[in-house]
Amino acid sequence: MTTLSSGLPGVAALLRGACDRRETVAVVTEEGPFHFRIGAVSVSVRCVDVEAMREFRRLYAAYAQDEPVAGAIKVDVIRTRDGRSMRRRYEVWGDGVRRFTLWNSESIAPHIEWAINWQIMLFLPRFYLIHAGAIEIDGEGVIMPAAPGSGKTTLTAGLLGRGARYLSDEFAMIDPETLRLHPYPKALCIKEGSFEVLGELGVRASERPIFRKGKKGSVVLVRPDELGGEPVSAGCPVRHIIFCKYAEGTTPSIAPVSRADGVLRLVQQSFTFLKFRTLGVDLLSNLVRGARCYELASGPIEETRELVLRTVRGG
């Protein structure tokens, strides 16, 4: 488990609880745990479901590690039965704390991703985390903060198809010392509503495992290299901050917003603001000083991504 810098009592209690409950986790797997490292994040996954484990190995084969890394996030998926109905269920545990209870195996893979994200939000003290898609275009970092359901993953995927380099579809991971964006190149989680877009990018959802992710419905998990030819970014300075909002039938438009407005919006999309507080205000203020801020009303992916590319490239 990564160390915790925050003194938040709730989080500390959670850690103590994690130690207590860890002993109750017993995972029976047909194969050993899968260790991988993406960006600054090391993960060890053990999963009772062979299909989910196979998908995870496919997604992160390029980042596989032979040995577990000290401080790695540990995700365990176990099979249990409901105490009353005796119905089979799966439990997803992150660092010894039960995060999800699932009723079908099709939900496991995206919830492993979700559990990893959860642990990152709580226990990755080194970085400032913003809920955003993050890409690199011509050496410049572009972050696209958005509320859930705003289409940031679809837009990120679309831009990878036009030569952008991938950093993440979930976190803008900011180094507080350098203000540089760090890669967290997780698999992109594409919802059913964007399967058609995915098809236009050369990935047919019908030809791969389809999973279920709670209220988000059916999803597929896609490696970034399946969407574009460019390698994953090694990190870059943030030069453009594009606040995204999607509304069906909207003609895409983009408009500048002030840097102060940018800071306010970034606070609202930050996972870790309460860990940083005054330092977070300084960090975000310095971040926007080196960047331009925009508000994007996104619509059809083709037009939207061209608009973003023109804006970033100054056209």
Binding site: S258, A260, R277, T278
Partner: protein, 107 residues
């Protein structure tokens, strides 16, 4: 010229006529606008350029009339509108606790 303040608070009270900036709020200026953060309540808000101009004069020495005169001169607007904007802005800032009562006599 319209002074605006974007905030996440709903508290309400009135500011004094000789307002004084609060030491409790952290402020960072960005292109003439301001980002304010109150550690005690984790409230964040933004002041536009006009509101920032007003806030900078909230030093406990300037009365509302003087702030209004300066604002009118800076943005070339009438005295009545300037006074109204200053009052409205100070009401907002006072309700958040960004400015508080000064020590001087009320004008």
């Amino acid at each position: 010229m319209t002074a605006t303040l974007t905030d996440q608070s709903s508290r309400s009270s009135r500011s004094s006529d000789r307002p004084l900036r609060s030491e409790e709020w952290m402020c960072r200026e960005l292109d003439g606008e301001g980002i304010f953060y109150d550690v005690a309540t984790d409230t964040t808000c933004r002041l536009n350029e006009t509101a920032m101009f007003i806030w900078t004069l909230c030093d406990g020495d300037h009365g509302v009339d003087e702030i209004s005169e300066r604002l009118a001169a800076r943005y070339d607007v009438g005295a009545e509108r300037s006074h109204r904007d200053v009052r409205d802005t100070l009401d907002h800032l006072g309700s958040l606790g960004i400015v508080s009562s000064g020590q001087g006599p009320v004008l």
